[in-house]
Assembly symmetry: C2
Homo-oligomer: 245 residues x 2
DNA sequence: GCTCTACTGTTTATGGCATACACGATATTG
DNA sequence: CAATATCGTGTATGCCATAAACAGTAGAGC
């Protein structure tokens, strides 16, 4: 029924009765410090103590601004996303708009891929999340889709983008932990697969290996474009059935 | 380059030189206990101590079977997935096959939705994961797609299924934590949105709210079917361009 | 001006966690 | 039978989130 404290703060619904001493920090500073820690050492290192140390402040000081670590993580996810760009752009039809929407979201998330490991705790209620939803819905204007369908379509694209960037985060982590390039990690995966599977029981996978699928570097952009086009094609089929408004 | 210990164990590549005392546990027992703990109290409660307590054994005993908690989590994800059904079924074309593949995966994951909060640490290398990949590739036989494209298509479907079930896990968690039904949680989200957004700055979202999108219960199956059909439609466009083999 | 009071950041304490290490018990191998 | 590798356990370390008690600060009301 009620909304978490950090949500109210983020929407600016909290009044500060400026009674006591001046505050030495701000939510923005705290979130920025958390982003620095996360970028440098990954989500596992994002602890209240590390963040406080980054700000030269005692651990418990943070709790004057945030009611729990979970609250802070919600603020982080919202900060990572940032505000959406103005969408759709003037000449865009719905497909171009949604494509731009997904691509922009991907760019935003890729600034802090580690943040995608933060477990989701419910539908997005933070300001930037809601703003992105609004922008996405705007792109779907005039498709003739009803409200439920629009929402489902955006959830589909959103889920795809997040999944795609999260995969990238894994490679980055492997890179950090084991001093290995993305390329090596990928071909290492191919070699492991080859070692563990025999051609009799896994003929299809063997074909994959023979096609050297895992030896090609940097297919992330291609893979993203592929998935996005498939989803947009699927939506196109649907939109074509509806009369445009 | 090398593969984690739990992976080798799971593939049965570890020999046991039965020298010391008899073992009182087994990997299967440990994973089962972990699944019980997770189902009862969520992923946060899946700690080495809780699992050990469930088995009436000291915490450190588990480390005779598993080299780290991360290893155990990998075993859990593989156990949750389980082996794939035989796919495609006799009369299936590729589209029916892939649909069945995704639906079966959803059923498997829904047995332990909390497990989807386990952070992925790389491409699936565990036996069941590989077996599902093999099954998925089998469904795509005769589509004329090349190896990279088949893999990308399955990743797309896999990501979608996981995202969709993970969303369900959030509702379940809210249900457990706040003694509230899924329905109430959803309509609570609608009310929060209504309170935080004004119709001027968020006209599209306001339309959503007026359509009572968040007051309808149990749309999970519909939403899953929707997303799956969109993806399959998108793949159909692609397959239609290729000559069938 | 002065006092009251809400708020500040800090220190200290608690309970949980993963896991390294050393130990005595055990069962197979020579 | 003796040697040894492996078993399960108890203890200890260091990290974590966070509750509680505390002294300093600055605005509100007189």
């Amino acid at each position: 029924m009620e909304v978490p404290e950090s949500v109210e703060i983020a929407w600016g619904l909290r009044e500060r009765p400026g009674k006591g001493p001046k505050r030495s920090l701000s939510l923005e500073h705290i979130v920025e410090a958390a982003l620095r820690v996360g970028s440098a050492e990954g989500l596992a290192a994002v602890s209240m103590s590390k963040i406080a140390a980054e700000l030269d402040v005692s651990t418990m000081a943070l709790y004057r601004y945030v009611s729990s670590k979970g609250d802070l993580l919600m603020l982080i996810t919202d900060a990572v996303l940032g505000p959406p760009p103005p969408l759709p752009e003037p000449g865009d039809d719905w497909r171009q708009g949604v494509h731009r929407w997904g691509a922009a979201m991907r760019v935003a998330l890729q600034r802090h891929p580690w943040s995608l490991r933060i477990p989701i705790t419910g539908p997005g209620i933070m300001p930037n999340h809601v703003a992105w939803l609004e922008a996405g819905l705007r792109c779907l204007r005039g498709t003739g889709l009803d409200a439920d369908t629009k929402l489902a379509a955006l959830l589909l694209v959103n889920g795809f983008v997040r999944t795609e960037v999260a995969l990238l985060a894994d490679l980055q982590d492997a890179h950090r932990t084991s001093q290995v390039t993305d390329e090596e990690a990928l071909s290492g995966y191919g070699r492991s697969l080859a070692r563990l599977t025999d051609a009799q029981r896994f003929p299809e996978i063997h074909e994959l290996l023979e096609a050297r699928v895992f030896d090609k570097p940097g297919g992330e952009d291609d893979e993203f474009a592929f998935g996005m086009e498939r989803i947009l094609d699927g939506l196109t089929v649907l939109v074509a059935q509806k009369p445009p408004t």
